[in-house]
Symmetry: C2
Amino acid sequence: MTVTIAPLAGFPEVEPGTDLAELVVQTHSLEDGDVVVLAHKVVSKAEGRVVRLDEIEPSEHARELAGSDGDARHIEAVLRESVRILRVRGPLVIAETRHGFVCASAGVDASNAPEAGTLVLLPLDPDASARAIRERLRELTGRTVAVIVSDSFGRPWRQGTTDVAVGVAGLAPLLDLRGKRDAAGYELRSTEIAVADEIAGAAELVMGKTSSVPGAVVRGLTLEGEGSARDLVMPPGRDLFR
Amino acid sequence: MTVTIAPLAGFPEVEPGTDLAELVVQTHSLEDGDVVVLAHKVVSKAEGRVVRLDEIEPSEHARELAGSDGDARHIEAVLRESVRILRVRGPLVIAETRHGFVCASAGVDASNAPEAGTLVLLPLDPDASARAIRERLRELTGRTVAVIVSDSFGRPWRQGTTDVAVGVAGLAPLLDLRGKRDAAGYELRSTEIAVADEIAGAAELVMGKTSSVPGAVVRGLTLEGEGSARDLVMPPGRDLFR
């Protein structure tokens, strides 16, 4: 079984209301079982999840956190997207989003924003975004595919970002091997593989941050189950680093 | 540019001294620019980095950590592979290895071990392992490829493991986009992408923990630079979670 990762190229600029599924099918011929990975930036733009810096009035807390280096309006946008702040160093804020994701700036980002002076937020409900795009793809093509909405997250202890799944539809994001046995018969007691994150990372390899490729089609995987990107959030009771 | 991920299938059981490069070329036709990803388990087995539980005398510290649930000999093996313990809960130990990696059990693992009662350790120097396999592949085929030695690591805040690079030869594990500009001209100030980790995760998608596929060949990437998997270790001064 060989897996292929094909970039979604030739996308025009995405605006509020853009039908992303239509753009996908215009540039790509889908097959049953494909995984369509879309960077959250285009999903957020299509959903109007963009704010203008000059329309944000920073709170006192945001001004304090921003100090003299940072942009207090940017920090204010981050605070509004956060349910909890984990770490602050200079303008870098590590926060937990309403979805439970822990990431830099609560997913608020100025790069690849539609214009200077704007910020792109995470979708309000990225699973719902993925489900809607999946349904629309089925409507347009008759194909049953999975959809992943991805974002670039940093990790403790390791340099660099990897793309992970923040929204999932049509596949189980965790492959649960607990109770199965390895080739030598040894029981794999505690192995769950975050396949949705690995698929998102694989898609990033053909996307590139500076080019205009907002996603990829991953073909050749066996899709099993259903689930939500929230399955990827470690429950606080199991989390050793919360 | 489409990227393909082909599983390395048909490997026999690996023993100390097994020539892994020879097994790769026996089952696969390589091209210049391919990335050969090998699970550390086979690399460690080929290098004899396997210990027998019944030859380990646990220390008092290992007995304390193991409590009544855990195997003190297993914990002792973990302690010997660790330079620092970060968290302990029940038999789960999160530790820093001599290479600087932070992971469960310092990379010590009983699954996919050559026989019951043995543990597989990480290679002593996984970069050197990758370099040696790369050189041998060049010798056997004349091809210039990259080699990644991978392992499955958990992450704080997210469920499930993803495969990451613990050894690298022939490519820069971090793609540095700092100073480059996005499609709208916005400067990407702080973006480094951990491409080696994304490649390792992509390879895992065709490997499967319970089947006998110990690696994959990833084709279609543009390989740039040189580097070490230690480049992926966050320097303590930049680490907000150490």
